[in-house]
Structure formats: structure tokens, C-alpha cells
């Protein structure tokens, strides 16, 4: 199949991106050398979320493995705006694909400063707004409130021509309502899902396992939930949707695209294989076209192997 896609004016060679915070191109280059840049697996690179000030992140343990997935409570460690612009941006600019910078701030003023400073850099092709954060003014999680989300976009939209992608949180009853608000506020695209609130217990002490007490669940375990949220959101908005959540194969990616996603992102699967996204892209290229519903809804495509008569 033809794989080129466009997200808010940004042309991408294929629909496979990375989920923010699940691939560090700079660290990967230290581990794998320039070879990883040569066969860079993503059509655009999404940075880990940066914040105005540096953050050390949460105390360990930060990860817990679950059935077909994992919980993380990383806590957005990052060098802060300045450190990112000075030390990371020049290295990320060496990548062969467009750079999408993920940003988060608590409070509109802070968010403005961040978006302003990042958007003006020519190395940056687009911004992803991580709104899974409390708004210091209202105390509410922006991404859980359509009104908060629309209001934030109305403030940020005028600051740049570059595509603004809103990363939606799945921890809501109706993600489509938030997506519609983001579109109304001027977002060029939405991406989902972020991780789902989760926790784990130390089997020995029976106290919270994670240093931060709680975290977010990702991986194949959440795929069916992500697919439903992507379907609901894609049906509700007209801007492109970047779908993610447990995608591990071309078949998974196809399911998200069929559900209405314009592109998909690979997150936790990168941890199992640094080139998982490359495999997924190749599986997409080689995927057969969908078989039209033969046996009337019925045993459609569901009868493998033996079918005498």
C-alpha cells in the first residue's frame, strides 16, 4: 500500500512515528552508533516531553511489568527548555526525519513561553502538546476537561504556524469530547492514547511497588482500549488522528488505520526491539488489501484452512 501521509501540512514518508518518551534518539545513537540514524525507524521523531524547568524524574522503581504490558512512573525527567535547546536540539537536528517536540507546562503562561521558544527554532517541524498535566490556575487536569483544552489551544494557536498536535489522555469517559474541543481550539491533529492510570503492589511488602506510588499502563494490554478510543475520536473530528497504544505489528497498525487513524505511533514495542517500528512499516508495505465482507457479516474471513464446500 502507498504509505505517505500528511499531518497538518507536515509530509511524512510513512505513517509510523514513535510515542513520546519511548525512544531517545540521542541515547540510541550512543548504543547503536550511526547505524540507527542510517536506518532510522520513524517517519518523524517525537521528543520526550520537555518542561520549562529541568526535572529529575520520579524516585525508583519506575517500572513494573504487567501481563502483556508495563506500568511506568518515569516522571518526565528532562533538561528543561534551555538544556533541551542547547544540548539536545542540535543532535536531534542531525536525524534524517522531521522533529516533533513534545511540551508540557502547568499554567497557560508557562505553556506560552515554552511553545514560543520551541516553535521559533527552525529545527522543529511541529509540536505535540502533552496536556495530561494539571493547570495550576484551575487545578484541573487540562486534558480531562474539554473547556480547559479548548482554552489552552486558543492561547497557544496564535503563537505559531507550525502544526500543533494535542496528545489526549485516555483517562476520561469521553475522549471524543476533548478531541472536538482541541479541534475547535485550532489543533492541527490529535494523538492518542497516552498511558492509563495504573498501580502495582510489592508482592512481599504489599505496599505500592513504584517509587511514585502510581503510574501509567502501556503495551499490548491496552491495545483494545486504545483502538476503541481512536475509533471514537476519529469519528468525531476532521483533523488527523495519530493512533497509538500497544501497537506491535503491521496488523495492529492496520487495525488503527482502519479505525480512522491517519498515522500510528510505536511506544512500548520499541523497548522489546529498537527497530520494531521498521518491521511494522515493512509489514504495512507488504499487507494484502482488505478482503471485502464475503459471507455477509457472518463467517466473514473467519474460516481459515479447511473449507470443503
Amino acid at each position: 500500500m502507498e504509505l505517505g501521509v500528511e499531518i497538518g501540512g507536515l509530509r511524512l514518508a510513512h505513517p509510523v512515528l514513535n510515542g513520546s518518551g519511548t525512544f531517545d534518539a540521542i541515547a540510541a545513537r550512543r548504543a547503536f552508533g550511526d547505524a540507527i540514524v542510517a536506518e532510522f525507524p520513524f517517519s518523524a521523531f517525537v521528543s520526550k516531553t520537555i518542561t520549562p524547568e529541568p526535572r529529575a524524574g520520579n524516585p525508583p522503581p519506575r517500572i513494573f511489568e504487567t501481563p502483556a504490558g508495563m506500568i511506568n512512573s518515569i516522571g518526565l525527567p528532562n533538561k528543561g527548555l534551555e538544556g533541551f535547546l542547547e544540548r539536545d536540539l542540535p543532535l536531534l537536528a542531525e536525524l534524517p526525519v522531521p522533529l516533533i517536540v513534545s511540551v508540557m507546562a502547568s499554567g497557560r503562561a508557562e505553556f506560552e513561553r515554552l511553545v514560543d521558544a520551541v516553535a521559533e527554532r527552525h529545527e522543529v517541524a511541529a509540536l505535540e502538546l502533552n496536556v495530561s498535566c494539571p493547570n495550576v490556575e484551575s487545578g484541573l487536569i487540562v486534558g480531562e476537561q474539554p473547556e480547559e483544552t479548548e482554552a489552552l489551544l486558543r492561547v497557544l494557536r496564535p503563537l505559531t504556524e507550525k502544526p500543533l498536535i494535542v496528545k489526549l489522555t485516555p483517562n476520561v469517559a469521553d475522549p471524543a469530547a476533548v478531541a472536538i474541543a482541541a479541534e475547535r481550539g485550532g489543533a492541527d491533529a490529535v494523538s492518542l492514547i497516552n498511558t492509563l492510570k495504573a498501580t502495582a503492589t510489592d508482592p512481599v511488602t504489599r505496599r505500592p511497588w513504584l517509587g511514585a506510588g502510581r503510574g501509567g499502563l502501556s503495551g499490548p494490554a491496552i491495545r483494545a482500549l486504545a483502538l476503541e478510543q481512536v475509533r471514537a475520536v476519529a469519528a468525531a473530528v476532521s483533523i488527523p488522528v495519530i493512533g497509538m497504544g500497544g501497537i506491535e505489528s503491521g496488523a495492529d497498525a492496520l487495525a488503527f488505520l482502519a479505525a480512522g487513524a491517519a498515522a500510528i505511533a510505536v511506544g512500548t514495542a520499541n523497548f522489546r526491539d529498537p527497530l520494531a517500528a521498521k518491521r511494522i512499516r515493512i509489514e504495512l508495505e507488504m499487507a494484502p488489501p482488505a478482503v471485502p465482507d464475503g459471507l455477509g457479516g457472518g463467517a466473514r474471513g473467519r474460516i481459515p484452512a479447511s473449507t470443503s464446500t
Binding site: F23, A27, R30, A31, A35, P59, N72, P220, D273, P274
Partner: protein, 295 residues
């Protein structure tokens, strides 16, 4: 990348063996019991010779995820020995079964497929890089932690560095790898149940050794459970002996992608052990007792 930068987080060219990108399928060519542990070997057709202290992320091709959906992510393993063979490099791993992942890997049958990513991380430094006039090495291993010291010992010996090896184990079931991995040359043992060598802790042997003069010109290389590493770290700090520790932390990726393997830095903030470690300078970290760590 997180919090204050460590000297090691300089991008690229840091004298580590870089890994082929992505995971690759290798064939398991051997798996034998060694005391209470097992040693399994895989033939790596394309990877470079690993440096001592580097590790690999491993996952069985089949049966991964068989216990309540776990293991899901690959598991980190220090390479215990690496031997060039005509059709690749034989990688030896020493494994102790403590959960679903190690259980599955300990049960690998020759001919099975093993997903391998690596070599990863920063290995041990040569003694002379750890201090002026430092030439010799004291290796301190505890339990399964003796694995990376085996290949380190061989590589140091090849450089002609004088090496003394101290190995500690809890009891019979938690002893293994000595004959296979330290056959070449004598190693002093300590066991808590006294079934072999000194009855007590390997750190008892170390303290005696650190009293001697030789200590001045030697660096300490340690790998083992957090409690042992922390003891070694403080002993060396007090006596101003350079020491490197091969640490552990829960790892999901092994190449700096997940930020899960945080180890607190002496200067505040955290390092990612997989990319800035797993070998750390004793002075670099705040403690070796990291929550969730320990094999």
C-alpha cells in the same frame, strides 16, 4: 539525560562496543547446570566482541509471556564470557532463576531461538584510567554477580594486569559458575554457610586485602547484590581506593529509551543505568541500594 548530566552522558564516541541496531535472532548452542545456576550460550553471528561489564537484552523466541502474560520485556544479562568462533561469537550467560524471565532463559534448549540486543552499556575501565599509579585489580563478586567478573578477569589478564579475585556466595544452592568461569586461575571464596572457603562475607576478605600495601596500587571491581555493592563502595571510599561497580536496576529497554533504570547520582538527580552504566564509579552514585534493583 535526566537531571544533571554525568560525565558519561556525552553523546557518542565513549569507547564502548556499539551494538548492531535492533534485536537479532541467535541460536542457543548450549545450556548446562553449574552449581545452583545455569550457563547458557548463544552464537552471535554479527555482534562485536563485548567489553567486560557490558550486557545484552535477551528474550526467548518462544514461550515469552507464558506466566500470567510475563515476561513481556526482554531481560538484561551481563555477558560472562565471549569467545570468537568461526561462524560468530559465542556468548556465555550465567543465570539464576528468580522469576518468569530467568526461569524461561534457564530452560532454553540448544537449537532454540534467542532474541539478542547488545552489547549494551559502558563496561569496566582499565585500572590505569581509574587513578595514577593504579595497575592491579581486585575483583569482588557476589552470587550471580560473578558473571561479568569472569570476562573482566580474562581481559585484564590479557593486558598483563595483576588480578586478585574474591567470590562470595550465600549457600550451596546459590553457588555456581566458579569452575566453568574461573577455572584458569585461583579465586578466594567466602560462603555464608561455610560450605566452601571463608565462612562469612566476601567483604570480610576484601577488608583484609585492603589493609595490605598492594591495595594502594589496585582498583576494585565489584558486582553482586545491592547490599554487597554498597558495602564495597563505602569500604573503598573510606580507604580512598578507586572502585567500579556493575549495578542492576529494573530495565525495560536497555538502550536509554524508557528512563526506567534510574540510579541516584551523588550530585543529585539520576542516571540511566543502561546507558550511563551498568558499570559506575563508586563515587558517582549516591548509593548502590536502589529500590527495585538487585537480581
Amino acid at each position: 539525560m535526566n537531571g544533571p548530566e554525568t560525565a558519561a552522558s556525552r553523546p557518542r564516541s565513549e569507547g564502548r562496543a556499539t551494538a548492531p541496531p535492533g534485536r537479532r535472532l541467535c541460536e542457543v548452542i548450549a545450556n548446562r547446570a553449574s552449581g545452583g545456576y545455569r550457563i547458557f550460550s548463544a552464537l552471535d553471528p554479527v555482534g562485536p566482541e563485548p567489553g567486560a561489564g557490558q550486557f545484552y537484552m535477551l528474550a526467548a523466541m518462544d514461550g515469552w509471556g507464558q506466566r500470567d502474560g510475563r515476561p513481556y520485556v526482554p531481560r538484561a544479562f551481563s555477558v560472562a564470557e565471549a569467545v570468537r568462533e568461526e561462524d560468530g561469537t559465542r556468548l556465555d550467560f550465567l543465570v539464576e532463576s528468580v522469576g518468569p524471565g530467568t526461569e524461561r532463559l534457564a530452560g532454553l534448549r540448544p537449537g532454540e531461538g534467542l532474541w539478542v540486543t547488545g552489547p549494551l552499556g559502558r563496561g569496566f575501565s582499565p585500572p590505569d584510567e581509574l587513578g595514577v599509579g593504579v595497575a592491579g585489580a581486585v575483583l569482588v563478586g557476589g552470587g550471580i554477580g560473578i558473571a561479568p567478573l569472569a570476562i573482566l578477569r580474562r581481559q585484564l589478564a590479557e593486558r598483563g594486569a595483576p588480578v586478585r579475585t574474591l567470590l562470595g556466595f550465600r549457600d550451596r544452592e546459590h553457588t555456581g559458575g566458579i569452575d566453568e568461569l574461573f577455572a584458569c586461575c585461583e579465586a578466594r571464596l567466602a560462603t555464608e554457610d561455610g560450605h566452601a572457603g571463608h565462612r562469612g562475607y566476601v567483604t570480610d576478605l576484601l577488608s583484609v586485602l585492603l589493609e595490605g600495601d598492594a591495595a594502594r596500587s589496585a582498583a576494585v571491581y565489584a558486582c553482586g547484590p545491592p547490599a554487597m555493592l554498597e558495602r564495597v563502595r563505602t569500604m573503598c571510599a573510606v580507604r580512598e581506593v578507586a572502585c567500579e561497580l556493575a549495578m542492576e536496576a529494573p530495565m525495560a529497554c536497555g538502550f536509554g529509551a524508557c528512563f526506567g533504570c534510574a540510579v541516584p547520582l551523588a550530585g543529585g538527580g539520576y542516571m540511566r543505568l543502561c546507558i550511563d552504566g551498568p558499570v559506575v564509579n563508586g563515587a558517582e552514585v549516591e548509593t548502590a541500594l536502589v529500590a527495585g534493583s538487585g537480581h
